[in-house]
């Protein structure tokens, strides 16, 4: 009896599981490659293209995507690792060509007719940023059509930071103009490098805003032994992202007013 009740609870009451327009679509990449894209449809005019570390298969990411779709933000999560038969490793992200990101941004913009925002986390941020830099280079006349970028605990170092030396960043840092929101945990050494990172990104033209989330580490929604604060914030991930999209709109308006 308890099992049946548990099954009913899981099936009917957990958000994101029942009666939501989700699925997987296949999009073309360059050179006859294709990519599976998990999508969470929404009637709203915003589309979030998420280059997630785990291709959107993480529990917190899927729940957040479902909640965002309920709140007028359509979410697409392309599985670029599988598209190239790559294992789910940090190093695999370097194997994914910039052209995939460029193609996906164009497809999202032209195919959906919605205002497109980009999202990534951790090491995936490097893939997103180099793809974005290339997209901007190819599409200088379309920069105003892109909503902006949300980076969750971005890891954009070219190599591990050496004590006593300025951190070195990947080439794409400082080569974009699109507005960027950075969300970082309070309990990570990376937060101390954020002012320098933001300054470097601004040199390329990107307005950058930083938010530090109290009481959580980097990768807070993937921690195996989460702090209480990490559980709470993970459950509010969709709200954090939605608020970041609103702040990106403000950043764009600030730039337009200048």
């Amino acid at each position: 009896m308890k099992l049946v009740l548990a099954w009913l609870a899981v099936t009917f009451f957990i958000p994101g599981v029942w009666a939501r327009d989700t699925g997987v679509m296949t999009l073309d990449l360059v050179d006859e490659d294709s990519v599976d894209v998990r999508h969470y449809k929404s009637a709203g005019d915003k589309l979030l293209l998420g280059f997630a570390c785990d291709s959107g298969n993480g529990v917190a990411e899927m729940a957040a995507a479902a909640m965002l779709a309920d709140n007028e933000v359509e979410v697409w999560m392309p599985d670029l690792l599988s598209a190239h038969f790559l294992p789910d490793l940090k190093s695999s992200l370097r194997e994914i060509p910039d052209s995939d990101v460029v193609r996906l941004i164009n497809t999202a913009m032209d195919g959906s007719g919605k205002f497109v925002y980009l999202l990534s986390s951790g090491s995936g941020s490097a893939l997103l940023l180099r793809g974005l830099a290339e997209w901007e280079r190819q599409n200088p006349e379309r920069l105003n059509e892109l909503g902006g970028v949300v980076l969750l605990f971005p890891r954009l170092y070219a190599a591990s930071p050496e004590p006593g030396r300025e951190p070195l960043y990947i080439d794409a840092v400082g080569k974009t103009k699109t507005p960027v929101i950075i969300l970082e945990g309070e309990k990570t050494p990376n937060k101390w490098a954020l002012p320098a990172l933001a300054e470097k990104m601004r040199q390329g033209g990107s307005p950058v805003s930083i938010s530090i989330i109290p009481g959580v580490r980097g990768y807070f929604y993937k921690q195996k032994n989460p702090y209480v604060a990490e559980d709470i914030v993970s459950n509010q991930l969709s709200g954090l992202i939605k608020a970041s999209l609103v702040r990106l709109d403000w950043l764009r308006r600030d730039v337009a007013l200048r």
């Binding site: 930071p161 004590p163 006593g164 990570t188 050494p189 990376n190 101390w192």
Partner: protein, 165 residues
């Protein structure tokens, strides 16, 4: 079967000697030694300049950093082996005194814990990864840096420290 046994033994030997590999990850450093003036967890004012003529290990750490927790016992042993001529200054990276105190009561470091509340010192020392360590010689010059945890009381490490003037 014989080949597999040889491979197994080789891997075991490698992993045992791996405890000492960390010394080779120390990187020689030349450059300016930033100032360090902070309050300790016990309320004592600590200035790096007060330790001229002593050999120093300046270690930047945080309570949320598992490798930091792992290396503290070997830092205790290192302090015991090196004696009073050697000083460890362990700078916590911007956490509250209460969080640090809870950690210290649990892990029991036997050296000075300093609090860098606003992160101003770690910014000057350019510390963006944890744990990060600096070996400062008796003249106040940073001689080596290390990112990551290590077995601080390994024979190789002690020999290297002893060789520094």
């Amino acid at each position: 079967m014989k080949t597999r046994l040889v491979l197994f033994v080789t891997l075991c030997l490698c992993s045992i000697s791996g405890l000492n590999f960390a010394t080779s990850e120390l990187k020689p450093f030349t450059g300016h030694t930033p100032p360090l003036y902070l309050e300790s967890l016990d309320g004592e004012s600590v200035d790096l300049r007060d330790f001229r003529s002593k050999l120093l290990l300046v270690n930047f750490w945080a309570t949320y950093c598992p490798p930091c927790r792992v290396e503290i016992p070997s830092m205790n042993r290192l302090q015991a082996r090196m004696g009073d001529d050697f000083v460890i200054l362990a700078v916590n990276m911007g956490e509250s005194a209460d969080d640090v105190r809870r950690f210290v009561e649990e892990v029991e470091p036997e050296f000075r814990i300093l609090l860098d509340h606003d992160g101003s010192v770690l910014q000057e020392w350019k510390v963006f990864a944890v744990p990060s360590s600096f070996i400062v010689d008796r003249k106040g010059n940073i001689r080596y840096t290390l990112f990551g945890a290590t077995e601080w009381d390994s024979d190789e490490m002690i020999a290297l420290l002893a060789s520094l003037q």
